[in-house]
Symmetry: C2
Amino acid sequence: MTPNVDFLFDFGSPNAYLAHKVIPEIETRTGATFTYVPVLLGGLFKLTGNQPPMVAFGNIKNKMPYEQIETQRFIRRHHLTQFTFNPNFPVNTLNLMRMAVAANAMGILPRYTEAVFHHMWEAPKKMDDPAVVRAALIESGLDADALIAAAQTPAVKQELMANTEKAVEQGAFGSPTFLVGREIFFGKNTLRDVEEEILRAKAA
Amino acid sequence: MTPNVDFLFDFGSPNAYLAHKVIPEIETRTGATFTYVPVLLGGLFKLTGNQPPMVAFGNIKNKMPYEQIETQRFIRRHHLTQFTFNPNFPVNTLNLMRMAVAANAMGILPRYTEAVFHHMWEAPKKMDDPAVVRAALIESGLDADALIAAAQTPAVKQELMANTEKAVEQGAFGSPTFLVGREIFFGKNTLRDVEEEILRAKAA
């Protein structure tokens, strides 16, 4: 049986973008479909006491340069040519993630996700500026005003919070996190393990 | 050309032990020989401002349990049956690492390394107690008194410090660290990348 695979993501995480670009290859090779689950990384950090890498590791000599080396290796390995670090980093993603929940309810999460990752990490913009976000969504052919309005409904706000709390219950503490059945994997560099676990579960 | 491969290690790191157990398979598959370079993890931490995982991550919900999950996966993947967490952890390894430098000069580093990893992480002992260390080395058929004496010479002390300082210059901040030529890899979970880089360098 093909296992359930969840991809817990926040657009604010460059590593979530990089994982997102590789997921289609894994889906093709394994036959599994990844379920995109919007979570709020800032909420995950608050609930777990974790911090962004730049805060946690910024003062450790060699650590952030090593993270850069690993990122460049990942980019080369997967031939990712469009990644552009967002000069507005860190971007407050609360509204983007709420809209992701809304987009899911509207049945357009894949198109929305593709668009927002593009405007965050390929043609980077200040995606916590409401006017910039609206223009970017329209540029990508999405119904910006419907998404913006839906993001403000209590049900959407609650669902994002519930997703984030559930992620912590499942063992998450950062982004990207993958769940293959009940097996948890953290970080883009575990994608090979994720793929192996999918194949193992299918064969079991 | 087979590249130069350095394994920068400290016996106090369980992840260094786990990597040590997998290195022979990689040597067999690639034809490369790993050079074991003793470094003082406490010194690396001081020089870089890094901290042991339990200190850095101990208060982050889910983080240390996830590290345990990853360790168990590594153990299963590589069929490592002898690993036993040392109840005396953390063990002060200053003298063990100085003796590793001495053992290298005496041409017995592989036997010494095998013995100390065994007494640290297979049949774990309080390996910062001089009497315990002496008995353990004798049990393993090593010339304990020669090693203990050599560890106290200024040249050996200086070499361990120099190894540690060089590691920082090379980009290290923890254990285990691998260098394939000038490419740096951190952590036991990068061993697959280490192997790929060896094969890439051989083919280049």
